[in-house]
Symmetry: none
């Protein structure tokens, strides 16, 4: 039996006048699936622990985030297509604009996104070729828009250092500082990188051209989210299943690459409200023909949550539900379907909260419960009761006949 895991990012919500976007949405397909399966609520990490999408996804895939999550950097680097190795340190990077005189650390950030620059491959190449650090290999990976990822390798690097990104415009680029004596060498190397890459970028023809056209120069790299990469066992080694990830969001693609999944890309998977839901569903079902495990990720409900947009979230959930009609006629003796949210993103909070998420599992043999609606106010009465994110994979492996017996 194969497994289709559908994660609707931030779909769950808190109560607003006794309802939620999910509860108030018309969701005949989710409700039918809920009725056909077993339901419950799930703490993706632990009760009361507010998950990021990254830590939540790791946990749901059975990778303890307390062990495998060392910061956003390594995941973003994977998402940018860099092969990250244990011991590397990795950063999220913004191409940004600085102005002023003196050293790069005396200059002020005037645009944290360098005018939302799009085509910057040449700049990435120039940094990779031009910056030399003694004893350290560096890899700058390109990502969408103004984003990039940086990996430093070799020389016993530490991730106990601060960010260079001042986070707000008008402030100076921050000199990276060691948080413990052992990290001083790393801080020095990273500051050197920031200086040398600035020198190369500031005088690069592409930036001279931008300046001439009145566009902000993409002349500095702002670093944040540093993490030291650890060994992460591949999904297929761990579970004996080949995995596909269908997602528009770089972060989720990064998690897919981190665990060795096939990341299926398509420009119509945008990771936003203009994504092609039907194509995503179709691609997921197609992938199941050749692979054993498919993670289908849908991002937009989380964005509506962050925007505090109740109606927008509700309307988008209805679109998601329509796209899920295809799931209601799956052969559940061949495919085990689970639908869940990675965390709650209440429109009232505009950020992630730790409220448990609804989860359902539909497959042959599952103990159907009395739940008939898939929302925050109904599923807790279901047969799964309250489970943890880290338990979900084991439950799915057991239901699909893939787990080993412990004892005799």
């Amino acid at each position: 039996m194969k497994i289709l895991m559908v994660i609707v990012d931030g779909m769950a919500d808190r109560s607003v006048d006794g309802t939620t976007p999910l509860k108030s949405a018309r969701t005949p397909n989710l409700d039918l699936l809920s009725e056909m399966g077993i339901n419950g609520i799930m703490d993706t990490i632990r009760p009361g622990i507010r998950p990021g999408s990254d830590t939540a996804h790791l946990s749901i895939l059975g990778y303890d985030p307390f062990q495998y999550y060392t910061g956003r950097g390594p995941i973003e680097a994977c998402g940018a297509g860099i092969e990250v190795r244990p011991g590397d340190i990795a950063f999220r990077v913004n191409f940004a604009t600085v102005e002023g005189d003196g050293s790069v650390f005396d200059k002020r950030v005037v645009d944290r996104r360098a005018g939302r620059i799009q085509d910057k491959e040449e700049l990435v190449k120039a940094v990779n070729e031009g910056v030399k650090l003694e004893g350290i290999e560096l890899i700058l990976g390109n990502a969408s828009g103004h984003r990039a990822a940086l990996v430093l390798r070799g020389g016993n690097l530490s991730d106990r250092i601060t960010d260079s990104d001042p986070k707000s415009e008008g402030d100076k680029v921050k000199r990276v500082v060691a948080l413990e004596p052992e990290a001083e060498h790393t801080a020095r190397v990273v500051n050197e990188f920031i200086e040398r890459s600035h020198a190369i970028l500031d005088s690069h023809p592409l930036n001279e051209e931008r300046a001439k056209n009145g566009l902000p120069k993409a002349n500095v790299l702002l670093l944040r989210g540093v993490g030291k990469a650890v060994h992460v066992p591949k999904f297929h080694e761990r579970y004996g299943m080949r995995m596909a990830v269908i997602a528009g969001t770089t972060l989720i693609k990064g998690i897919g690459r981190l665990v060795g999944a096939d990341v299926i890309e398509n420009e119509r998977f945008t990771g936003s409200k203009n994504t092609d839901l039907d194509l995503k569903v179709k691609t997921a079902l197609k992938s199941l023909e050749t692979l054993d495990f498919v993670l289908l990720h849908i991002k937009a409900p989380d964005e509506f949550g962050h925007d505090g947009d109740f109606e927008g979230k509700k309307d988008f959930i209805e679109k998601v539900d329509s796209a899920f009609e295809a799931f209601t006629s799956l052969n559940f003796s061949e495919i085990c379907l689970t639908v869940l949210s990675d965390h709650t993103t209440p429109v009232s909070v505009k950020d992630h909260t730790a409220d448990p998420v609804p989860v359902m599992i539909v497959c042959e043999g599952v103990r159907r419960d009395d739940v008939k609606h898939f929302n925050e106010f109904s599923v807790y009465r279901g047969g799964l009761c309250r489970i943890k994110g880290m338990d979900l994979m084991n439950i799915l492996l057991d239901l699909t006949g893939k787990s080993k017996k412990f004892g005799a």
Copy 2:
């Protein structure tokens, strides 16, 4: 207050056309008890972890199987009445028949059960007296039918070795191999034991006699399930209660002996469908007059599960229910009753699965819930919600006023 723990092995099931053997069985007594008590579902080890009966029972008795389960050998040796000590290595043993020339490892297994030999005490004695191993004490313990258990003691033995049992007939006896360099001495000793015991058995008068009568010789010992015994605290030391085990199954008796319980034997407790359920129940109630904790184990529903026999399982559960009528009139201010399954054995899977099991607790003061039927589709709505096997003993100790306060 005393505790009566009733474990119906493999009673729980998965959904077959919306029902299960337990749900479709007529169980007025279980249902009445369920109504009188508090109910829930339980992951005997952890959600999604498929339990053996051995690991499940350890966990339910509050012995973490990840700490105390080192393989089936030590439990079987306890079941065969051998006093197992920490550091011993122990094996499950089959008396079997080999034929051919040369060393024992050149011969082929023609009957893995030596014609299901029954009376083999003389053979066991001959091996115990005749085989000498330098610096190693050996104890072969007799068990029912063709079964036995072997303990080796002394000389820093390792359990990182392979089985000698080829598992299928027609194959040669397997030479035991070390799985790490430190285990090479042990592998050599065990292979010597196999050779020397074969020499003694093959020429033993009882086997000469069997050969004359056309019966297969019980002339080799096949070893499997090796485990290195660890210190297991006794039940009465741990909980301050004297414990009795009423079971027909060697494995469960072995667990009882492992934790220092009184194992009450009776030839009418068969560990199978022909067991005397009424006598078992009567013996359990009798034992409670003098002891504090009684574990009553009923095996047959698991066997029907392994056989994929829905109707057989259902019918047997109805017999179990009839025998449990005696429990409905217990004085629940003196006895705390818990009824549960050790794991799910779905007739559709014919093996153990990790689906949580139903559990109920009936005693004075317990918070009665609305559950009126004891089955997989009803108890999850009960007041216990979803608990873990390792938590059950603590809950029972607390309900019966036996636990210490943590803090003040």
